[in-house]
């Protein structure tokens, strides 16, 4: 379903963030991170098989940048369609080539996935289990942009931890995990695993047992 114009759309939005000094405040997550792993060559031999029309950004810190910027205004000026989802309360940005750009943030403290107003002018859903992504991110230099993505090991770990809560996206995520597993660094994987909560570690152990996947060191 991904066409050439949608790759252009992805880079066009990356450029919009870059030009407004906002790219440094985001982590590209979701399947587009896999595309960046493949494009940058950090995982030799890896090809990203499945991408979606969603581009997801994890906002590193809700209070950054210090001087608030309105992404929705910038995006609207640049020709994007802005949608304030009434049901979820979140802000979504649509591109003319039918891609959906969404932002999320790590949930801290109590509550059930609250929607948070950020200094970036977007209302975002706060989700749990994202700290492994922000704490283990890497910088990819590609086409003149410095883009933060989770390390492939953190990406896989996060996908496994949330897998049972992913509903219809669960199977697709499993395919992504399976395709990335041969390329990840066992030592780094173990290192991140050791810093997870007991509950998260249990999720990984259960997943590996259920999928009959062997992984030395876990």
């Amino acid at each position: 379903m991904i066409e050439g114009t949608q790759y252009k759309d992805f880079w066009r939005f990356i450029n919009l963030l870059h030009e407004n000094d906002l790219l440094q405040h985001m982590v590209v997550i979701g399947s587009w991170a896999e595309y960046l792993y493949a494009q940058s060559g950090i995982l030799p031999g890896f090809t990203a098989n499945l991408r979606t029309l969603d581009i997801d950004f994890l906002i590193k810190n809700m209070r950054r940048p210090v001087k608030s910027v309105n992404i929705t205004s910038l995006a609207k000026e640049a020709g994007y369609t802005i949608d304030h989802d009434v049901m979820e309360g979140t802000t979504k940005i649509y591109t003319q080539d039918l891609m959906e750009i969404e932002f999320i943030i790590e949930q801290k403290g109590k509550g059930d996935n609250p929607v948070i107003k950020t200094n970036l002018g977007v209302n975002v859903q706060a989700l749990r289990h994202l700290s492994s992504l922000t704490n283990n991110s890497i910088l990819i230099e590609l086409f003149g942009f410095s883009i933060t993505v989770p390390s492939p090991e953190a990406y896989v770990i996060h996908k496994i931890v949330i897998n049972k809560d992913r509903g219809i996206k669960s199977e697709k995520d499993i395919q992504a995990i399976i395709s990335l597993l041969p390329f990840i660094d066992k030592e780094k994987f173990k290192e991140i695993f050791d810093h997870l909560t007991k509950k998260e570690q249990q999720e990984i152990n259960n997943f590996m047992a259920n999928k009959n996947t062997r992984w030395d060191g876990i």
Binding site: T52, T81, Y94, D97, L98, E171
Partner: protein
């Protein structure tokens, strides 16, 4: 549920939401096209649109020409995107049936 089923279902829901948002934005934009007329060597711009059998032209003040041009272009782009979304939605409905 297979990977294909889940991708299709996700895409179906996403397309419908996106179409609704684009239709909302479309309703805020002017319809028609811009025509330029030269009268006594001066350029005048009009927003032309069809109303029934007639073409109605509304004068656009010079300071608003660029804004209206952008809005008309945005409308065309949105109409194209909505047509594509409608095709996507129909395709998925046919596959899922």
């Amino acid at each position: 549920m297979t990977v294909l089923d889940s991708v299709l279902q996700e895409e179906y829901e996403r397309s419908k939401k996106m179409k609704a948002a684009m239709e909302r934005e479309l309703s805020t934009l002017p319809s028609g096209y811009i025509s330029k007329k030269i009268i006594n060597k001066n350029a005048y711009y009009y927003l032309q649109r069809r109303v029934g059998l007639k073409i109605i032209g509304n004068y656009i003040p010079p300071e608003e020409v660029q804004q209206i041009k952008d809005q008309v272009a945005k409308r065309k782009q949105l109409e194209k995107s909505i047509r594509e979304l409608e095709i996507n939605i129909k395709k998925i409905e046919r596959v899922v049936k």
